[in-house]
Subunit: 515 residues, 2 copies
């Protein structure tokens, strides 16, 4: 009787039905707590219609299967493993496939040159005319890309080879494979063993920023920049996302004639490309721009940024949503250093501030959360550290300041390994103003928003969180967007139609499959 | 201006002093939020006396140095690395060394055969007469230990060698090293690369339970059991802990004459050994017992457990504190299965229930937290999942149900890797009823409570959490103990003296060093 049991015969994860134990009063009180918690959670107040209930049954069956498999063998549970190591497995998941089809509303936190899939960049952009690369003597990483009409005129490649035409290199069958592998590897952070290769936040950020640095001259070639963005919108639409708020540093663009396009030109290009895309795809409702230059800057540079922001707002008032600062928070300047300037920004330029993307509790980065709130941020990017700040939790809830949660980004950049430990569990459990976003999908081999919805749904929310939680995320993405009241009303109307169609299609698919 | 910055020149972690930016109103509001959050946190309401302030300065300097080093190179930050890989580094930490000297109050969550250091078990117990081992054919792990007068009479060793006298094996200089390494390795979970060797919760638990299984016949030999416990108390006292609440399965003990000692005998042995220890060390105030058999049992076995608990309470009313169930929660039976029986337990036998030691949000293990509260648990063991349960958070705060946080245990058993993600950050930030404990220090090469205090202080609390937070943990360990009102008053009085002496000694040490 007293022998320890290391062999466990029964698993009790899934069934609480059928216990005859416990008094009726006990069961009533217990059920009430569970019901209250469910009601208080994200989506818990939404009512099912008949179609939703049917589709939910399918979704929850798939979800339960995945959780059960993970419970029996935790190494199988995808949200607890680094996204870059399991992306192919996620594609096979029935839960994921259903989420793909779901109208997810808006993508509200994503960055300019990390929006679009590596597949497009590799197979389309790197095969374009005039692309040159700079490579080291020994096989290794690409040192740089550049579109050039006349490579000799550009002295920025310090390799012994100078700028080499990529098409010429690929034409040599003995070199093509090696060159192509180098090119591909330089476009993302994806590696076979990410946790080993990026053992901590700083090393992950170094690799992450390296990709931005190397791909910048590849993507800021004017014709490419436009196509890259158009393709990004295409991929969002394919992923059943219908609206975007894009953070951009508005990098200078260049062309073969040496012309340089400044931030206002770039914003116009975004606007025109958005309009063209919406014209081509009327069920995609649009995009807005958050001007988000790098936070590691002097106060006089910030003045210049804010001047540009004002000019942008004047030139493109409906398209420009607001302002932010980007870059690794722990290594950039804290918001407090810019507080007086940011506080003085016109209310026409709302702030969508990155804050608390850190696990250094009590550091200045962590305190950015306090400044974000004092600066009247409309939304907070990441807010990973928010649980540690009771006052800030109260304020964001009271004022409806949405937290932009980016599960995969936080995992890939090594804030958290097992997403079941992601602090958004708390936010979801209490229906905080929250949206789920993708941050930089192109950098880790993803596209669109579905992967992050999948991780949130399976790994961060309760096992009992159902289709209403996903619906609420989509509704939140409209509610907390920078759209005007009228735009939101129209967006909601369109989204409702899409949702109804999704439910209808899913019911029909289900009937076809199971009749 | 638009060039991305991947080289970051400045680190802003530590200094917020000296900014001339921001309006006075802004600074006032910001300071108020920080002050409110500090006041609301664990220990935030305690006032410093002069000595405490001086000692705090020394402590905070040491803490800031460690955090700064970790910030510059995250791979140096000890709380984010597996305890078993960094224990030697922790011993070198000035923060740790100060915590060692601090009177930490009570250890309220620790298990019987994991209380005492491996050093003692190896160097003392495994060198005792009559110890036999069972080993496999090829070099590898020990299959079993047993104290035997006549090895041939015991047929439980299925190895080709049968039971072998360990002293005889060690006498052979060609074998001694290999045998000693095997013996040592079998006594703990410690391995060179724990994250790789125990890749998930289940594999960590398997290794953990294997150590319990293998060492049980080593430690349940009557004379050893007594000495092991006495040594455990010695190590607690050496670590400046002065009271213990021990969870024990009350395993059957044996001796060389074949006598078997049942649970009541074992409890009596604990009581007498405690009394002897207190007599030998009057500044150690005592210990109580929580009868905690394995949760993987039938309801009729539970009936027998509860019958024993009643008998224990009758026989040793002041010594027996209450009842619990132990074992891997995810694989054991959920509390709900035993709810009616546990609800019916006499109020004389308070429940100290393990609950929510899981990251399977929404699983039955996770719901154990609800049952723990409905069953009027006096304290909750681990409660790792509590953040996901808003109603339970409200209830434990309102009723003062203390959460027993065991940082190192949660890390070693792979619930969380980087302790900065431990949910207790939230509990500390809001001054929840909480104590910090050590769970099974002997199994991961630790002793006492200081290692867990260190991890909590450096890794889980805010950078600004100071000596008052540690003082509050010690005070909480008295407040939330199972001691009677009078016992608590006496304990507090003794602890206050110890604390004053610690402050005095530290001030003097400081003066000596810095005068």
């Amino acid at each position: 009787m007293m022998v320890r049991c290391s062999q466990c015969l029964y698993f009790y994860l899934f069934t609480l039905v059928g216990y005859s134990l416990g008094s009726p009063e006990y069961w009533a009180e217990r059920s009430q707590i569970l019901a209250d918690e469910s009601h208080e959670s994200l989506g818990g107040k939404l009512k099912f219609n008949r179609g939703e209930r049917a589709v939910n049954d399918i979704l929850m069956t798939a979800k339960a299967q995945e959780i059960r498999a993970g419970f029996y063998d935790p190494s199988n549970f995808l949200p607890s493993r680094n996204f870059m190591a399991v992306i192919e497995d996620i594609k096979e998941s029935s839960t994921f496939q259903m989420i793909r089809k779901m109208p997810k509303g808006a993508l509200l936190h994503a960055h300019d040159t990390a929006l679009t899939s590596v597949e497009f960049v590799y197979s389309n952009i790197t095969f374009r005319d005039h692309l040159h690369i700079c490579r080291p003597g020994a096989p290794g990483e690409i040192l740089g890309f550049r579109f050039l009409r006349s490579p000799d005129a550009d002295g920025t490649c310090k390799s012994q080879y100078g700028w080499e035409n990529l098409a010429d290199l690929r034409a040599d069958p003995n070199k093509a494979d090696e060159i192509n592998a180098m090119v591909k590897n330089s476009l993302t952070m994806v590696v076979p063993n990410p946790e080993k290769q990026y053992p901590n936040v700083d090393e992950a950020w170094t690799a992450f920023m390296n990709v931005f640095d190397i791909t910048e001259p590849l993507l800021t070639y004017y014709p490419v920049f436009e196509d890259y963005y158009y393709q990004g919108l295409t991929e969002l639409r394919d992923d059943n996302v219908f609206y975007l708020e894009l953070r951009s540093i508005l990098p200078n663009l260049y062309d073969l004639d040496g012309k340089v396009y400044g931030p206002i030109d770039v914003a116009r290009l975004y606007k025109h490309t958005t309009d063209r895309f919406v014209k081509d795809n009327p069920d995609f409702i649009g995009a807005k721009l958050i001007f988000a230059p790098v936070r590691q800057c002097t106060t006089s540079t910030l003045d210049e940024y804010l001047r540009i922001a004002e000019e942008l707002k004047k030139e493109l008032p409906d398209f420009v949503a607001g302002f932010d600062l980007v870059g690794q928070e722990d290594k950039g300047k804290p918001l407090i250093e810019f507080a007086d300037k940011l506080k003085a920004v016109s209310p026409d330029i709302p702030l969508f501030l990155h804050a608390g993307e850190t696990n250094w509790y009590g550091a200045s980065t962590d305190e950015n959360l306090i400044d974000a709130v004092l600066l009247n941020a409309t939304r907070i990017g990441h807010g990973y550290a928010i649980l540690k700040h009771p006052k800030i939790l109260d304020i964001v809830k009271e004022r409806g300041i949405a937290i932009e949660v980016n599960p995969i980004s936080n995992q890939v950049l090594r804030l958290v390994d097992d997403l079941r430990n992601h602090p958004a569990s708390y936010l979801f459990s209490r229906d905080f103003p929250v949206i789920v976003s993708a941050d930089d999908p192109g950098l880790w081999g993803a596209t669109g928003l579905s992967y992050d919805f999948y991780e949130a749904f399976l790994g961060i929310m309760s096992r009992s969180a159902d289709i209403r939680a996903l619906k609420q995320l989509a509704l939140n993405s409209i509610k907390f967007s920078a759209m005007s009241k009228d735009e939101k009303a129209r967006a909601l109307c369109i989204w409702n139609e899409k949702w109804a169609a999704f439910i209808n299609d899913s019911v029909q698919d289900h009937n076809v499959l199971f009749m």
